[in-house]
């Protein structure tokens, strides 16, 4: 797929591939710090990536933590589509992607990973989905980009970068796993 959609007008590149990698290094170390912090056994920590790009970010964080610490965290994939509350405003239902959490979430300390946090509605849906899968000991939230404009009381615990935006703008996170290049762009959308 093309890197950005033809309707997008680029306002700024927020991160290039090197920036993205540096930010992920820092976030991986923060997760490790958090793990030390609470004197909890490391095997109770797990990463959960949100469909679709949160999955690839979580996977990269897992690999970095394995490099730094020699510790491979359990890893799951979450799709919160079935838990969204805004379907009635849409013309069509969003595509449902797989959820695959190959470990028991009960008593786990989870780090939920998403590419962008905006209104907070997706995060709310993800929390509901997680709670239906079990009773985690705690859930921390990591977002690569916090673009502000929250509609719900949701605040990420780990943030790659905070970027003030307006509702007419979009943040495009692109990852080589499914896109042509790594990077983050701020774009305008035609009204």
């Amino acid at each position: 797929m093309a890197l950005l959609s033809p309707d997008d007008t680029v306002k700024a590149q927020l991160m290039d591939a090197a920036d993205l990698d540096r930010t992920l290094n820092r976030l991986a170390r923060q997760i490790v710090e958090h793990l030390d912090d609470e004197a909890e056994p490391a095997e109770r920590l797990a990463l959960v990536g949100m469909q679709t790009r949160g999955v690839y970010l979580a996977r990269r964080l897992r690999d970095k933590i394995a490099d730094f610490e020699g510790l491979t965290l359990p890893f799951g994939v979450l799709d919160a589509t079935m838990y969204r509350d805004d379907f009635r405003k849409r013309l069509r239902q969003p595509i449902v992607h797989p959820t695959d959490i190959p470990f028991d979430v009960d008593d786990r300390r989870l780090v939920l990973v998403d590419d962008v946090v905006y209104t907070g509605r997706t995060t709310r849906a993800a929390l509901d989905a997680l709670m239906d899968l079990g009773r985690p000991a705690s859930v921390r939230f990591l977002a690569l980009i916090d673009r502000g404009l929250r509609e719900l009381p949701v605040r990420p615990d780990f943030v790659g970068r905070t970027v003030p935006t307006t509702p007419g703008e979009e943040v495009r996170v692109r990852l080589t796993e499914i896109d042509e290049a790594d990077g983050v762009w701020l774009v305008g959308r035609p009204a």
Partner: protein
């Protein structure tokens, strides 16, 4: 993520009246979505809030146990509000027309209607008089689309050595041989399955007494054979249809015993065709369409069909529940 770029992201239809007008990509979207809903059924909490605030009416003018139960479970697992309406004990027995019944129910502010009716075209008729989304749960001998979709989902899960990994799973049935055996003329299950199987590329063979075989059915792109062995030879999956016992008095077949003798799948067939899998839409007349041992054998996937029924119906309800703007293909349904 794994979908090809051309994969559909929404149905082109506003209703599910039959599979005759559904495209292969629409069917694949339903199957993909159903797989994710099936995973919900294995979780500790078997319910998602996707249809919260949506009211679904199950309008059953014809007796049905498992289809009604399956739809109702699917609706409840999606957190919809469910109202059941069956013909007996209702105003229908007082002579109210389908149109009046439907409009009265809709005046109570509902969003979706699931209808089972003895007359072909009843679901289609309903769409002319009400604004709700309509799902056909069987209309006479016309179509029973959710049954066919659950059959297609079951087929797509089969682990057939001849097929490469994931080809069936992704809904590409080219080279798959499916035989449908029994009373084709009166079977809405057969009709919907023929449309769906042909759309996904499968080869379909029909077999049954001449008295139960529609004329010129070959025009649907199927092969017709007389003898059961012709239907089973080279066949991957045999779908046996339920024989309506009352058809015997209509003289369409001489006796149940003779039917079983000529068209019933027995243990000897499982021995003769070692890769053959067996499906049946239920409820089975043991010893008629299928020998009892065949029903219970590990070659039968009949219970998988039942599980898949709930998942497929969740997927259909979910995909059709979004939005109120008419889509392109609806005009073609008029």
């Amino acid at each position: 993520m794994s979908e090809p770029a051309a994969a559909l992201d929404a149905l082109r239809h506003r209703h599910l009246l039959g599979l005759a007008t559904y495209s292969d990509e629409e069917i694949r979207l339903v199957l993909r979505t159903a797989r994710e809903f099936r995973a919900v059924l294995d979780r500790p909490v078997k319910r998602v809030p996707s249809l919260r605030g949506v009211t679904v009416v199950n309008l059953f003018f014809e007796a049905s146990t498992r289809t009604r139960l399956s739809f109702e479970l699917a609706e409840k697992r999606l957190s919809a509000d469910v109202v059941n309406f069956s013909a007996s004990g209702s105003s229908v027995s007082k002579g109210e027309t389908l149109k009046d019944t439907a409009r009265n129910i809709e005046a109570m502010k509902i969003d979706m209607v699931v209808i089972r009716h003895g007359s072909p075209g009843a679901a289609q008729f309903l769409t002319r008089w009400i604004d709700s989304v309509v799902l056909n749960a069987g209309d006479g001998a016309h179509e029973h689309p959710t049954q066919a979709l659950l059959d297609l989902l079951t087929l797509s899960d089969l682990d057939l050595p001849r097929f490469g990994a994931d080809r069936l799973r992704d809904g590409y049935f080219e080279g798959l041989n499916v035989s449908i055996i029994g009373d084709i003329t009166h079977s809405r299950v057969a009709r919907s399955n023929i449309h769906g199987l042909r759309a996904l590329g499968a080869d379909v063979t029909l077999c049954g007494p001449r008295t139960m075989m529609p004329r010129e059915v070959e025009a649907m792109g199927v092969r017709v054979v007389d003898r059961l062995d012709e239907a089973l030879d080279g066949c991957d999956v045999a779908m046996a249809l339920r024989i309506q016992l009352e058809r015997q008095s209509a003289g369409l077949f001489p006796s149940l015993r003779e039917y079983h003798e000529r068209y019933g799948i027995k243990e000897e067939h499982l021995d003769r065709y070692p890769d053959l899998r067996i499906m049946h839409p239920g409820p089975v007349n043991r010893g008629v369409e299928l020998a009892s041992e065949v029903v219970d054998s590990d070659r039968s996937v009949i219970l998988d069909q039942v599980t898949n029924g709930v998942a497929v119906r969740m997927a259909c309800l979910y995909l059709l529940s979004g939005g109120t703007v008419a889509r392109d293909a609806d005009r073609g349904e008029g």
